[in-house]
Symmetry: C3
Subunit: 140 residues, 3 copies
């Protein structure tokens, strides 16, 4: 077994849910060398997150944004940690509800995902900027 | 260290939360060969998910189903992505709230879980069918 | 590649969200030996959980506690599984919303986290006691 690790920065994206599978794969061409393995993708931030969901219809990503805005309301009366604005504490909460990492099996040099699965960047801040990720690949 | 990977299909289950620990273990007898390791379990779908929770009282699984139905209401006025029915977008959201994978430590050929922990299949669709999983085992 | 595994018990903490990065690192000095790797941290309980979030301002942790109390209301009329009190079923639900494990990349003998990221113990019970964790380290 071997392990490789790559740190990279995603292109900045506006607030919302974004399909990043192709951009991520572009940073880890070594994936093609793994017959059996695992990809661990980690985001080095506490106000953006990663998840796996439907890779086709863009309204899925829009519905994610509106669901999380309803469920984690941007109302400063509800929070103490509000220094950076109404999207500050809500971004931290959304980040932990979705998680800072995804783990995906690798087979025959490709992600062993289902037909409809893609990797999402969940950008919870109004002006989050470019987000830093770490990809770690283990396997044969 | 070595790595093995098994793809398999679970028996179909109705909508709700289901304890699948024994069925999963039945697909990976190689687990018994690992002295120290990790099991990564991944579901290849975006409308069902995996989690770890209480393995004894079935009312815990019933309460999970009712909590998620309250928290992610099945009301098409709230969503744009509704082509496949009222359980379409809600299943995608529940899937990301719970996650597509679980990672469990392995020790002495067994899962190193707590006494009360079991693996749940969270079936969010009314008619989800048989779900495909990938188990990846690494360790010594 | 090699793998090591350590089981340990955290100091007991009151209900709420707690920064445990330093206590966890104190149990795994072997981390310093890994040039490239991954740390998998797993909690052996179904009423407490692990997440990664902001490591500085303590009001973030207080806002997490109040958000989860609003979102998973402690009202026994909503649940069937209530034998151990109003914090019983709610703790199971919070545990699955946040998750039983975190995976963190390791580089140059240290966690490759962002500046503001820390590991949280999310203690959902009123009297949860000392929680058992398993740390598994893989890498070179």
């Amino acid at each position: 077994m071997r392990i490789i690790q790559k740190s990279f920065t995603l292109n900045p994206r506006p607030r919302g849910f974004h399909l990043i599978t192709d951009e991520v794969l572009g940073h880890i061409p070594e994936l093609a060398e793994f017959e059996i393995g695992l990809l661990y993708l980690f985001i080095k931030h506490t106000s953006a997150s990663l998840t796996i969901n439907e890779n086709a219809d863009p309204t899925v990503r829009q519905d994610f944004e509106s669901f999380f805005n309803r469920t984690v309301p941007e109302n400063n009366n509800l929070y103490k940690h509000t220094l950076e604005g109404t999207d500050d504490m809500t971004s931290h909460i959304k980040s932990s509800l979705l998680g800072a990492s995804v783990s995906i099996p690798v087979n025959s040099g490709k992600l062993l995902t289902g037909t409809w699965q893609g990797i999402y960047l969940c950008e919870h801040r109004n002006h989050g900027g470019a987000r830093k990720l770490v990809a770690t690949l283990t396997g044969n």
